[in-house]
């Protein structure tokens, strides 16, 4: 992203202005990272130091061990992994097919169909919780992982994003492949999908982090350890009545966020760029 310039741009701050801006930017950064730093401190120290900041406090991993034993987090991790994989795979297939239809086929009703797709950006599944719960009850899938996934697997956002990308693929490539005798699906898989790979990565990251973090709908449709994702498991664990101490809750909190957090720290640039690509329409 950063361009190498020999001379600084005219409005780059320098001298006192740069110092002031740096101090302000760092101050805000410290405030922004403070809650996380606080959780890290509490999780890695014995309970006695959870609100007592002495640099000599002993470090410990005991809080993580206790949290891991106190609730079936291994199962929750597995559930969340299955959930995000299931959603992502279905989204890729469904959104790719639909986006291809919108980008390259001219057929009666496509305008209306596209408007119906876009309607989901406003009428979000997040809000239709009452009716979707009834649907899941009728389908007999309450308290299962597919029940969490079903409302999200046809994503208007994904269809829109891929349609925009497919539209930028030169029509000549498409025609050339068809002259060679490729079928519509072959053209899609051999020409369009490879060219859109960065968008798939971007959309994948956004989708995984959204569904890894999603809470309200899974809270409503799940009721057992076998179906609960991490977020709901964490809530059940930390709102228990037995008065679990804060250091253990902080450890559990860090544990549930760790995969995304570590992934983010390792692939920071890709993450940031993915969010950017997914957002620019």
């Amino acid at each position: 992203m950063s361009t190498t310039r020999s001379t600084p741009a005219p409005y780059e701050p320098s001298g006192l202005a740069l110092t002031l801006e740096t101090v302000a930017a760092w101050l805000l950064a410290v405030i922004w990272i403070l809650p996380l730093a606080y959780a890290v401190w509490t999780a890695f120290h014995p309970a006695a130091y959870s609100a007592n900041f002495v640099l000599t406090a002993p470090l410990t991993l005991e809080n993580f061990a206790k949290a891991w034993e106190a609730a079936p987090f291994a199962r929750y991790f597995l559930n969340t992994a299955i959930l995000v994989t299931l959603i992502l795979c279905c989204q890729f297939v469904l959104c790719t097919l639909a986006a291809y239809a919108f980008a390259r086929y001219d057929f009666p009703g496509s305008g209306v169909a596209f408007a119906l797709v876009l309607a989901q950006l406003m009428i979000m599944p997040d809000i239709l919780i009452v009716e979707n719960y009834k649907t899941m009850a009728r389908l007999g899938v309450l308290d299962t992982i597919p029940a969490i996934a079903l409302p999200h697997i046809a994503s208007a956002f994904g269809i829109f994003l891929l349609r925009q990308t497919f539209k930028t693929v030169p029509k000549e490539l498409d025609d050339a492949a068809r002259v060679e005798g490729a079928s519509a699906i072959q053209v899609l898989l051999k020409v369009y999908v490879p060219l859109a790979r960065p968008i798939y990565l971007a959309y994948g990251l956004v989708s995984v982090s959204y569904h890894w973090n999603n809470f309200l709908w899974p809270l409503i449709v799940t009721n057992s350890v076998e179906a609960r994702p991490l977020t709901v498991g964490l809530q059940v664990f930390s709102s228990g009545d037995q008065g679990i101490d804060w250091s253990i809750i902080c450890a559990a909190t860090l544990m549930t966020s760790a995969p995304l957090l570590v992934g983010f720290l390792l692939f920071q640039r890709q993450f940031v760029q993915s969010f950017m690509r997914a957002g620019i329409r």
């Binding site: 992203m1 741009a9 005219p10 409005y11 701050p13 740096t22 930017a25 760092w26 805000l28 950064a29 922004w32 990272i33 809650p35 996380l36 606080y38 959780a39 509490t42 959870s50 609100a51 469904l94 097919l97 291809y100 239809a101 057929f107 496509s110 169909a113 119906l116 797709v117 009428i123 979000m124 997040d126 809000i127 239709l128 009716e131 649907t135 409302p151 046809a154 519509a184 982090s209 973090n213 809470f215 309200l216 409503i220 977020t231 964490l234 809530q235 930390s238 902080c250 909190t253 995304l260 957090l261 720290l265 920071q268 993450f271 940031v272 969010f275 950017m276 957002g279 620019i280 329409r281």
Partner: protein
Amino acid sequence: MRRSTATIHGWLLLLPAMVFLVAFTHWPAVATLVDSLYGTPRPRRPAAFVGLDNYAQVVNDPIFWQALVNNLWFAVGTIPVSIALALLMAVWVNDRLPGRTLVRMAYFTPTVLPMIAVANIWLFFYTPQYGLLAQLLSPFGLSAQNWLGSRETALACVTAVAVWKEAGFFMIFYLAALQQIAPSLGEAAALEGASRWQFFRRVQFPLLMPTTLFVLINAVINAFRTVDHIVVMTRGGPDNATALLLFRIYELGFVFWDTSLAAALTVLLLVALGLLAFLQYGVLEKRVHYR
């Protein structure tokens, strides 16, 4: 390709996605409207048509008005503040500050954390006596303040969490847009002798308007669907001081199991969101683009 073949292929490609969209978005939206006109079915008593009774009940419920007012304050608190902070962060991170990669990381980190997890952390942050906030403020004699437990401060506290969570996310879009502004514009403005503020106000800010519209739409939607932290931090309390509309729908539907009232409230929320979308796309879009 013949037109009829194109039609068949097009619809076949669309079919799987459409089935799921209709089943879990369009049909539930219509069913919500229908259900809102019927009473809640109870064992041995099927739902009866009640017309607009549910709406009358919702409108006569003081908690609905409280949730609406809370949600408006929540929107007023989160939307402008998070957008302004995002813009400020983007402008800062766009400059060549020492350690700007770290600063950008700090701003963006809340975005990748689950809301439910950060709500737990903030809960402890706000705890009276022991919490970090209480410790920081103890020199001012405010350590006993129960931030989440008193009506006056609870809503502001949950609003702050939402701003903290989403500002870094919006920053990314501004950053991308800032980096696409041609450097020649800055050079031209400098030749004309414009101050940095004038350059920002007259050149950068207008060019960022499409981004602002996009971010604004997202911020508005978020203001009406962000309730995870309410469930963790306050459960709508104290005394409904932090009840937001979607939280109230959840409460009516899945705590009190009055699904008809929840349906009526859902319809009202959808209508409100639809109107807002119409306003944003229809009115603002025309003034945003320089073409």
